[in-house]
């Protein structure tokens, strides 16, 4: 479905955010992008969503290169924007319509969907925000805002759902709910997290970005957990001195 080939990206006047990253994702895969803060996870998701473009390397969606030029083609851009969607880490950035209903209907109206009302109701119901449809999104809690954003994105029936630290601003109950919801979803997903203990819940395949902005692992969670050296190198665990009154020793610790 998507392929990245030696993709590098650097922001103006700063260090590279990604160095020669290559991987591909097949339909219906659930992939987790794991890495410490600042390793380039958000940048990578923005490239996958066609919001920014790599200075080197190539990104292809359904074998088509995703470039500014390609996105100027209106019909292809329309298809890409409705099939590849991104849930931002801070949902506030995505909400600007007067009511939750309008927010969920925003993309559907652009696509000219016939059963707009039914589709909005259906996704509001699935995400548990059907009671909030006439409320302004800004008056909702953080977890509810996230659900509204998800409903707005999923209502488009996308092929690829990108999630940027989807659990970062949620309380434990909402985190549990979101994990269950995503596991039941029949959409290809790429989710980022810096939380090692959640990674296994968000996907079955793990990609690890190092603090040097390189892809250093691509495989199953069980294999990653057995590779202490990689976990330490990616700053996903710490050697931590556990102190009790008598016994002090170093051991690997997941801080998340």
């Amino acid at each position: 479905m998507i392929e990245l080939e030696r993709v590098s990206y650097h922001y103006p006047e700063s260090e590279p955010a990604l160095k020669e990253v290559s991987f591909s994702v097949a339909q219906n895969e659930h992939v987790v992008l794991l890495g410490a803060n600042g390793c380039g996870k958000t940048t990578l998701l923005r490239i996958l969503n066609g919001l920014i473009f790599p200075q080197q390397g190539a990104y292809r969606y359904e074998s088509e290169p995703v470039t500014p030029r390609r996105l100027r083609d209106k019909s292809w851009s329309r298809r890409f924007r409705s099939e590849v969607v991104l849930l931002f880490q801070h949902p506030e950035a995505m909400l600007f319509n007067p009511t939750v209903y309008d927010e969920i209907a925003y993309g559907l109206r652009q696509l000219g969907v016939d059963d707009l009302h039914g589709r909005v109701r259906c996704w509001a119901d699935r995400l548990g925000v059907e009671q909030q449809l006439q409320r302004p999104p800004l008056h909702l809690s953080g977890g509810e805002k996230q659900k509204v954003c998800l409903a707005a994105l999923l209502a488009l029936e996308p092929q690829l759902l990108l999630l940027d630290e989807p659990t970062a601003n949620l309380d434990p109950r909402s985190t549990g709910w979101l994990i269950d919801f995503l596991q039941d979803l029949r959409v290809t997903t790429v989710a980022t997290t810096h939380n090692l203990s959640l990674a296994g819940e968000l996907g079955d395949r793990v990609l690890v970005l190092s603090e040097e902005h390189e892809l250093i692992f691509d495989g199953r969670m069980e294999d990653l957990l057995g590779d202490e050296e990689k976990l330490l190198a990616a700053n996903l665990v710490h050697s931590h001195r556990h102190g009790s009154s008598r016994d002090k020793r170093f051991h690997v610790h997941d801080w998340s």
Partner: protein
């Protein structure tokens, strides 16, 4: 030391720029600032023009409408106001390009502290602004209409206002907790 001298020169130039009320000296001042910018002159001029564009257009149009209705429109006044704002903005960009403000304010702990707070807040806002811009772009399937642009701008304005008020409260409490307001 050099940074402190540059800060004093910058402040003096700002005072001078706001007290001169003739187009000639202001134009000369702008030429001098751009000459001092060296190879960066075009970059500084372009950034300054972009930064002041909205403000100056609103001010100029408002003045134009009211003064025309009152029969007192003066093209010289319009040129004077726009030139002054451009000069002061170019001067500020030149200062920021050439001098590290942290070095310039190093003589005062309080000023450094205040500048650090302002700087970190502006960085956070810059990131939030980029998030808003990209999120809007990400959700646009068709070319966006005026109504959606208006809604998005209004939402951004409200967000930044809320955020500023909240952060100002937090910063004040943090400063009070660290004894900043103690006499």
């Amino acid at each position: 030391m050099t940074a402190r001298i540059a800060l004093l020169a910058y402040l003096a130039a700002i005072v001078l720029g706001t007290t001169v009320h003739a187009i000639g000296p202001l134009a000369l001042g702008l030429a001098l600032v751009l000459a001092l910018a060296g190879r960066e002159w075009l970059r500084i001029l372009r950034r300054a023009c972009v930064a002041i564009l909205l403000f100056n257009v609103v001010i100029t149009l408002s003045y134009g409408i009211i003064s025309t209705l009152q029969g007192s429109f003066s093209l010289e006044f319009v040129a004077l106001v726009n030139l002054r704002v451009l000069l002061l903005t170019c001067l500020t960009f030149l200062f920021v390009f050439r001098v590290n403000p942290f070095d310039a304010l190093a003589f005062s702990r309080s000023l450094t502290f205040l500048f650090t707070l302002a700087y970190s807040q502006s960085m956070a806002f810059k990131q939030a602004l980029e998030d808003f811009r990209l999120a809007f772009k990400s959700r646009r399937i068709e070319p966006v209409g005026l109504r959606d642009r208006y809604r998005h701008s209004a939402r951004m304005g409200a967000y930044f206002l809320d955020k500023s008020l909240h952060q100002a409260g937090e910063i004040t409490q943090a400063m009070r907790s660290r004894g900043f307001f103690d006499d």
